[in-house]
């Protein structure tokens, strides 16, 4: 391993088997009360054939075994807490610890969702204010906190659009989606029974009003946009575009994945957007948790308010309550009221930041992204060279001339101690490298990252072998994804384990 400016030198890396290979029969990790009811208890009256006969495959381990096992696993993870995570479109910013402290207060964690409203007034007050704050931040009129994640928010938003159009007599058939959109957009359309019409982005990277005008007709229910779009560019014609759609009776949905660029600086409500989802785990610092839980509130304009999922949190004469009496609602998308634990964190964050703080979030996020853009634009191909918002998209065009591809650059970054950017997305940029630094990273971190990146690009020319073999300092090396697809093992069984060990032996002999 050569000397390099990043923090990625190898440390202590432990081996750790799957947990089913730890422990011993009879060892235990639980602590349960002795039954006070024993002695007088009758036999179980459930039919014998409905009772479990065989023990499930769970490990028999001590508490310490569990602690050591999962602590070791945790050390194989890259995380925001350990390093720079410029994963574009995911907004991997610092997740404040105070959020966690607040969210773990028993006054929240020990609330049952079916308690009386009287006994959860604090929780309802929090949700009511968060609804209002999100509406204000986005320039919308109302919000629902129910959707469990961005994708469910999209589904909810489209359901509302459909319900609105149905109330006008015709649900229409199609939804327009730019070719740069997240895959969830078309998938959500399909879930709502809409046909997808893909719009081509213009050569400048933004949506051309003419393209929308030509695609727009009376069968189009909605346009789904992402603003800033997935190239990190502000959709400069957004007002004209939303007007074109509205003039023909359609509505405009905004994917809120990229709100970190706009918060306090511009509001989608002013742009003619009718419905927006937030990703609280992106913009509002709730932790990503290795893939969730997220939270995907939706904010809407007045015309869509009657269609919000039921229930909505309302307030009357000093009393907060669930308003379930909503005849035009699209229904319920989640049991109970949303990912409340995430809502607490987002609310805590907004209360700590305030209006000025949130505005600075967008400013610094955009500053950091443009800094990376300028510093790397001579080394990497930059297909859209204008000022970007919160993220910048490069491509591997230059490096591919010497046979080095985006994925290989990404893997090499790991050796330097960085999480790779989002790769191969958006689809309209071949070999895309999408970098979103976020506002919580310092100039020093950016400079180190840029220096590492430049060194890797130099290696492409002079030591391509290093790139092709990367990563080399991780707990494991490049994985055989073909095998995972063709001979998958989704669960641990003694049989699959035997096969697997045989395969490893065969593989090692072939090396």
């Amino acid at each position: 391993m050569t000397q390099h400016p990043g923090p990625g030198d190898s440390g202590l890396i432990f081996n750790e088997p799957v947990i089913f290979e730890r422990g011993a029969p009879g060892r235990k990790g639980y602590s349960l009360p002795e039954s006070e009811l024993s002695g007088g208890e009758a036999e179980v009256d459930i039919e014998k054939e409905l009772l479990r006969e065989q023990e499930p495959l769970l490990p028999e381990v001590s508490e310490f075994d569990v602690i050591r096992h999962f602590t070791r696993l945790s050390q194989w993870n890259y995380s925001i807490d350990t390093g720079f995570y410029p994963l574009g479109s995911c907004t991997m910013k610092y997740n404040p610890k105070v959020n966690e402290a607040v969210a773990s207060m028993p006054g929240w964690t020990q609330l049952h969702p079916l308690q009386d409203e009287d006994s959860i007034q604090g929780a309802l007050e929090l949700m009511f204010h968060l609804q209002q704050d999100l509406a204000k931040i986005s320039g919308m009129d109302a919000a629902s906190l129910q959707p469990a994640a961005g994708a469910q928010g999209e589904f909810t938003g489209l359901l509302m659009i459909r319900a609105y159009l149905e109330s006008k007599g015709n649900p229409r058939k199609k939804v327009l989606i730019p070719d740069s959109a997240h895959g969830t957009n078309p998938a959500s359309c399909a879930a709502c029974g809409y046909e997808v019409v893909t719009l081509k982005s213009s050569s400048t990277g933004v949506l051309d009003p003419e393209t929308v005008r030509q695609a727009m007709d009376e069968d189009v229910a909605a346009l789904m946009v992402t603003n800033p779009n997935t190239l990190g560019l502000f959709e400069t014609h957004i007002q004209e575009i939303t007007k074109i759609v509205h003039d023909q009776g359609g509505l405009v949905y905004c994917d809120g994945a990229n709100q970190n660029a706009l918060i306090g600086k511009a509001r989608v409500g002013d742009m003619g957007i009718d419905v927006l989802h937030f990703n609280l785990h992106k913009t509002f610092t709730t932790p990503h948790g290795g893939g969730g839980p997220g939270s995907g509130p939706v904010a809407v304009k007045k015309i869509l308010e009657p269609f919000l999922p039921t229930p909505v949190i309302a307030h009357k004469e000093g009393h907060y309550y669930f308003d379930k009496n909503r005849s035009q609602s699209v229904g319920r998308v989640k049991s109970f009221y949303g990912n409340f634990g995430m809502l607490i964190r987002a609310y805590t964050y907004i209360r700590e930041m305030g209006a000025e703080g949130l505005k600075q979030v967008a400013e610094r996020a955009v500053l950091n992204a443009n800094y990376v853009r300028v510093k790397l634009q001579d080394d990497l191909h930059l297909p859209y060279p204008q000022i970007c918002m919160h993220e910048v998209v490069f491509s591997d065009k230059k490096q591919s001339e010497v046979g080095i591809k985006t994925m290989q650059i990404a893997k090499r970054l790991i050796d330097y101690g960085y999480h790779p950017p989002t790769v191969y997305f958006p689809l309209i940029v071949a070999g895309a490298l999408m970098i979103e630094p976020t506002e919580t990273e310092s100039l020093h971190t950016l400079d180190s990252f840029i220096a590492a990146f430049k060194q890797i690009l130099e290696e492409c020319e002079i030591k391509p072998r290093l790139i092709l073999d990367a990563p080399e300092v991780t707990h494991i090396r490049r994985l055989d994804e073909v095998r995972a697809a063709k001979q998958p093992h989704y669960i641990y069984t003694t049989k699959s384990e035997k096969q697997f060990k045989k395969h490893i032996l065969k593989f090692l002999n072939s090396l």
């Binding site: 799957v18 990790g29 639980y30 602590s31 009360p33 179980v44 459930i46 409905l50 009772l51 006969e53 769970l58 028999e60 999962f70 050390q75 194989w76 993870n77 807490d81 020990q110 308690q115 009386d116 959860i120 469990a148 359901l159 459909r162 997240h182 895959g183 969830t184 078309p186 879930a191 709502c192 502000f234 400069t236 600086k265 511009a266 290795g290 893939g291 839980p293 229904g331 319920r332 989640k334 109970f336 009221y337 949303g338 409340f340 209360r351 305030g354 610094r364 955009v366 204008q386 999480h419 919580t440 100039l443 494991i476 090396r477 490049r478 994985l479 994804e481 095998r483 989704y490 090396l511």
Partner: protein, 454 residues
Amino acid sequence: MRYLPHTPEEIQKMCQDIDVQNIDELFQVIPEALQLKQLLDLEPPLCEIDLLKHMRELNHKNKNLLQVDAFLGAGAYHHYIPVAVNSLVSRGEFLTAYTPYQPEISQGTLQAIFEFQTMVASLTGMELANASNYDGASALAEAALMALRVTKRKKILLAKSIHPQYRHVLKTYLLHQNVEIQEFDWSENGRVTPALIKEYLDDQVAAVCIQSPNFFGIVENLSQLESQVHQAGALLIGCFSEAVSLGMLKSMGDQGADIVVGEGQSFGNSLNLGGPYIGLFATREKFVRQMPGRLVSETIDSEGNRGYVLALATREQHIRREKATSNICTNQGLCALTTAVYLSLMGPKGLARLARQNYDSSHYLQRSLSALPGVELKFASPFFNEFVLQFEMPVKDILFKLKEKNIFGGVMIEQDFPQLKNCLLVCATEMNSKKQMDHYMQALSEILNSEGSL
């Protein structure tokens, strides 16, 4: 702002390097009319001391389950969470990682999910499980969608004894799929019988969905229905809301279900007023390509080491877009980890014992309460840890009076089931001591007596 590290000098330097005068110049790409000139109308910012004070004040406006005797279930259950669970799950390496797109630096999350998948598959009697759905309700809805894809049919049969919110969510999800949803009744003893579904089963039925224990806590017998459903060419979807029951009951996979889904909250996840919870989703390997959600598979690396990757991504929205099996991308990763840690601590014996304790407590409580005059056990069928009582007076009044005695006595169900007038769904878990349950009986007895004397 403590989360924003830039000094004024650094900002100046960065602007110079970018070749702009100041940050605002970067925002000139936004049309003038859309630039927000004033500050957002939000409450003023709080320092950490005031923030914690404010949040504690809000907190104290709630009454939490540690402050009362609660007997609430109905899809969310009060169970003990070992301290070790949160100690591990709150580690930053788990908490602040994202979806494991880069497997070489995400083996912690990936292996934990692989272990989670194994545990869920084993508990449900299935061949594989996915890396989680949002909650039990959306897992059921996704299972129904999957059955439509597998069978290419257009009808879903739902037991009315499935959690009403699950049915509601399923209907929302299927709203625009051009699908007919039919609901069938329970029999007098609260169970589904083959005769009840017979008239609905035709060659257009994609799936029959049954919950066990059902919404009334009653253990269903899926094996009795299985052959009938399969003969009709439909899939049998088994669903549960109380995961602890899996420690005691024969798995629904072993009873012939094709897809088993449910709520995993009971496995170490806090009640949290209803979320985040975790949808468990398991099925047979032959259906894997129609399965929604992320999946982890074991494989090897270039040096022959065991490792894990996300597999079969081609089913998913980022590749297959409008043809994807689901739009889900962010799932409940941290809750899956929580579940895996919890189940590791419990082990097979701990889980069995816990389940038995829930059974014992709830039966002790049921016998105590239904011995009171004016209280009737609604359904004469075996139940797991919750049961329905019927009163001779409105449940609302009883609950109100119990609340005055610091008891949350159960969940009223007649708003969802008008035919179950004056009925109360009562739950007892390992969190309810004998003393609490005796106190409940005494309080209820007093309330009913005083009503009687009016």
